[in-house]
Symmetry: C2
Subunit: 331 residues, 2 copies
Amino acid sequence: MKKFMNDAGSLVADSLDGFVAAHDDLVAFGQGRKHVRRRFFSPGKVAVIAGGGAGHEPMHVGFIGSGMLDAACTGHVFTSPTPDQILGAIQEADTGAGVLLIVKNYDGDLMNFEMAAEMAVSAGSHRIETLVVSDDIAVERTARGTGRRGVAGTLIVEKIVGAAAEAGHDLLSLKAVGESVIAVTRTMGVALKGATVPQTTRETFVLGENEMEVGVGIHGERGRSRQEIADAATIAALVCSQILNDLEPMPRQRILLFVNGLGGTPPSELYVMFGLARRFFEAHGLVVARKLVGTYATSLDMAGVSITVTLLDDASIALWDAPVYTAALHW
Amino acid sequence: MKKFMNDAGSLVADSLDGFVAAHDDLVAFGQGRKHVRRRFFSPGKVAVIAGGGAGHEPMHVGFIGSGMLDAACTGHVFTSPTPDQILGAIQEADTGAGVLLIVKNYDGDLMNFEMAAEMAVSAGSHRIETLVVSDDIAVERTARGTGRRGVAGTLIVEKIVGAAAEAGHDLLSLKAVGESVIAVTRTMGVALKGATVPQTTRETFVLGENEMEVGVGIHGERGRSRQEIADAATIAALVCSQILNDLEPMPRQRILLFVNGLGGTPPSELYVMFGLARRFFEAHGLVVARKLVGTYATSLDMAGVSITVTLLDDASIALWDAPVYTAALHW
């Protein structure tokens, strides 16, 4: 394993330190350096807070700023932040209008965010609502357990909810906006190489020279199936057709198409996949009304791509288009 | 070799196709799809055109747009665009105020851009000036041959010159602005894994499990030396001290610090390197006045990082801060 790091134990702290230094016009450390927050909060606005394990950078700290998140908590690699961290972020970011927590659907995250919310309600009478993102169609909807994972589609939820918060929506209305986005957002990922976890120094799964992993998450989990590697058009068709089957959109439905790099895949290949996915959906009668291509929700250094589709309407388009000024997303 | 591509021969065209589709609010293909251009030119403004081999994405097409480039030509992987391509871009982008070509210092690029310039002058009386970027200090200044290569620092030249062009500088003044930036810009890169060229399906160099390549360029060339892999702080000190020695800045000199990913390195590690480089330069009495961290000038899928420093003054800070709206850079 080769990484630009001092040691496995300090990678997350060193990376956050560099992130805050690089974007100190936008963000600052919260108390005790346990979370990252906007430099300036907007009193009267619902605070939008996200978080999760490290290893997904720039998610979520890269989405802190005007029009998106107020604060984000980062845990150890692939490990939920602690209730203590989340509570600190709630107490700092809540300016009186309440707090919306955006949580990716994993047991550890669910538990810790719920615990923090309970602590915040009883300790400080904060009003808290929670959105759980579960966009990963690689996990069967009927599966027992936690159900579908939250992956790259979380970015879209955070952008749209963040814009609605900035526009003055109250806490319950904001939660409804978020739930409506989650209901129409689907993601699926493919990896050509596994993620290397700093602590173990090993890849979470090892693929043969002619294999790819289809339906990967962002925590180094095995995917839904291991298949013989294929050309980009075949991979795009495989992923896009499953998204299409799952979403069952209307003809001429407008969509947001988001092609995300998982950490080790260069922009040239992301654009190849975007071009192919766009053609696929247009050939199936959809209108690619909004687009995003880049490395936004990673699985450490995994070589891979995920494709996310959100069905759009006038309201969500207006919220997507609303100004955003964060380290990773800006328009 | 594993890549998201249809085949090695179509990778560049497919990637550009996806790029233009993803950013069709900003860019369009030029005639014959031989270059990429702004959707709308600004008559009366000097046209700023760059180009080079593919494999460095988002450089240069990602820098086309208001405040930066007017057009960019992409060759095959690691291969200069043809004079024909460059001539087409010149003819399309020149609205009467002349054309500034920004060329990275490689024999093939120099030859083809010069040939295109001569053709454009004789065929259409275009006024043309050329800037040659040579920021890579891994190549000795006294070396025979072409001299120092142009690498990630080219982004800084393109941003500052692009802003000056937008502000109405004439062709000769623009060239002078560019030369003054080039004179104070230095870059050095380190790789943990070589780049895999699609056509050959092989890494351009293969490193052992405990080796790193210091002083790499962006065309898969071997670096200046192969060394035992070190922790991030050691690597940062190694690179930054060489930049410092070469630049010989004044105490309290303001600098732009740019940490660039070479394609296969995730944001988490780039931020680790940024944090360390910033501390290094501040400890050496410099003021990190402007910052940039991201994957902007790649060497295909190379795992690696380059560090670029530009000495700043009030004029270059104003041009760096001026609005820019491109696919890869936006403020």
